[in-house]
Subunit: 357 residues, 2 copies
């Protein structure tokens, strides 16, 4: 069967040249050729993120690196910011790793405001904030500038950001915002297959990790730093995806970072225009909508499940609402290497199938 | 630069057809096509391992699944069997996850005997044994039959086996041996790139996991089972490697499992003959040598580092001794899809460069 193009919020469509970069023959992971490959990824990642912090490459999906952050960064306790299916995971992750955890929680679709988090920090009982930047299940983007400003009042609190579906699609100035740990899997705006997570880590987060003897082994920041200094990883890394990462980073800088971020804004605007023209409404509140994917409320009460299936039959995969929102929303992702004509092709088919419902 | 063929104990050489199978275009991980792909891997893996237990696919290198086993299976405490660099990790992993851990330890190169483990089990203080089958750093294969026989006297102890460099190259009858958890990364005898770990899990291990509230999130056996029952994983899996795994399993059964295991024995014998003809000795004691890689002691006192480099310059990568054994040993891996002519080509170059030293 022919391949169906992915417009789901991960895994995203991976271009043929990128798949071929991942298919480069294997090398050992303790040889200079590997260190050269690994080392070639680090400076462009630092530029992409606007950070001087260390960059770790975890051979895991994003959730693994989320667990790493919770285990390595929360000593007294963590504030988990909850606003949808993926950010809700932060709470479970922290609790299942024996962390005292407060819920900074809002309804699915709403954004987390600084004051909701600060209420918990004022108690002095928590030394880590676990925040999602872009909630993939609802298409909500949190006000990271506002939250970062508030965080500056709490210099002993480690600020962790899950940027899974925004990193490499939206500009995030890590050092200016004072983000200690930021992480994202490669299967979203990086335009790669899943299985590798990029994570930056500040000296403050590393110091915290050193104080936690039960931070585990596989996701130990201290070991990641020790091997990272040699452009290696403590365990065998996913070499194929690191080949792919180098290839994608080269493409990012050929396109230009600013041009890349602008293309993502243009993709968003194209999708928003479609939403409006077709009588739907965005699920997230105004000013808090995601740039990399659009979640629309099913204001027209169409049969989302049927429609999504019809669109899939035509070769384009979009997403129903997540979990409990299955029939109440739909999601179109527009990130990574997606072009305006490609998105328009998908939106065109969505229009046609919508009329036929 | 042209590709150098890998005869190191992982990552192993991956055939071009397998790299291309991994480069299959992406699909979503919550769609029937993914469940079909995942589901196609499970029955052949159960046949390969001789088990009716559940099979989990972890998106991580082997060490991640080792951590999973320690966190999910040790309640009272664990016995870590230590005989080389990789098995020594078992101890660190257990300790860094807050487990009371006993050392069943022998010198590097020696094998662990049942009595060394049983001494600790007799105390009644441990309910989990963490054993390496094939110690990759020294080329030692532990007497799994003898240890499995002893384990049958301790039905409350969960028996965990790291078969990282033996699974898919050596027959391991998981259910007959009573192995509760066995795991291996794909970059060894499976003939795939690194980044995915195959793990089987018995009902006993699952029951134990349920009793441990701090078993973590990413490597939680209970969630792996719940999603595995739907041929899915709790988090986004490494889809490329699962495409590759299905491709490799097809190849295994076309070759025939018995033929595959015999080829590995023939590769071993070819390497052993070379070792003997060239005046080296095997590093492991007689009867405890690995089938999938040979570690030879540097009985001729040659400059191993120089020799390995010269062989590499000719396009074949073999390994020095591991860590502290750097100049005292060398290692040649002969596993996965390696053929006798391919191994002989490498051994031929090794002979030529040895004469020139």
């Amino acid at each position: 069967m022919s391949h169906k193009k992915l417009f789901i919020p991960g895994p995203v469509e991976v271009k043929p040249d990128t798949l071929q970069a991942c298919a480069t023959p294997m090398i050992g992971h303790r040889v200079p050729e590997y260190a050269e490959l690994h080392g070639a990824c680090i400076p462009p990642l630092k530029t992409l993120l606007g950070t001087k912090n260390d960059i770790f490459l975890f051979t895991s999906s994003s959730t693994g690196a989320m667990e790493a952050a919770a285990r390595n960064c929360a000593k007294k306790g963590a504030v988990a910011c909850m606003l949808g299916a993926f950010s809700d995971r932060w709470y479970q992750i922290a609790v299942q790793n024996n962390k005292k955890t407060a819920k900074a929680q809002v309804e699915w679709g709403q954004a987390i405001r600084a004051e909701t988090i600060e209420k918990h920090l004022k108690t002095g009982e928590y030394d880590c904030v676990l925040l999602v930047h872009n909630e993939t299940s609802t298409g909500t983007m949190n006000p990271i500038e506002e939250i970062a400003d508030m965080m500056k009042k709490y210099p002993d609190v480690v600020f962790v950001v899950d940027a899974v579906s925004s990193m490499a699609g939206v500009k995030i100035d890590v050092d200016r915002l004072g983000i200690d740990v930021i992480l994202a899997g490669t299967q979203k705006a990086f335009g790669l297959p899943p299985g590798l997570t990029v994570c930056s880590c500040s000296p403050k987060a590393l110091e915290r990790a050193k104080q936690l003897p039960d931070r585990g082994y596989y996701f130990d920041f201290v070991e990641m730093k020790a091997f990272g200094d040699k452009n290696q990883t403590p365990c065998t890394p996913n070499i194929s995806l690191i080949y792919g990462l180098r290839h994608q980073l080269d493409k990012f800088f050929k396109e230009g970072l600013e041009a890349r971020f602008k293309r993502h804004m243009d993709l968003r605007d194209t999708c928003w225009n479609w939403i409006e023209e077709h009588g739907f409404k965005k699920f997230a509140p105004p000013g808090f909508e995601s740039v990399t994917l659009t979640c629309a409320a099913n204001t027209r009460k169409v049969d989302i499940v049927k429609w999504v299936k019809k669109v899939a039959d035509r070769g384009f995969i979009i997403s129903e609402g997540y979990g409990k929102l299955k029939q109440d929303a739909f999601r179109v992702a527009h990130m990574a290497d997606c072009t305006i004509p490609e998105l328009k092709e998908c939106l065109g088919v969505m229009s046609e199938e919508l009329r036929k419902l």
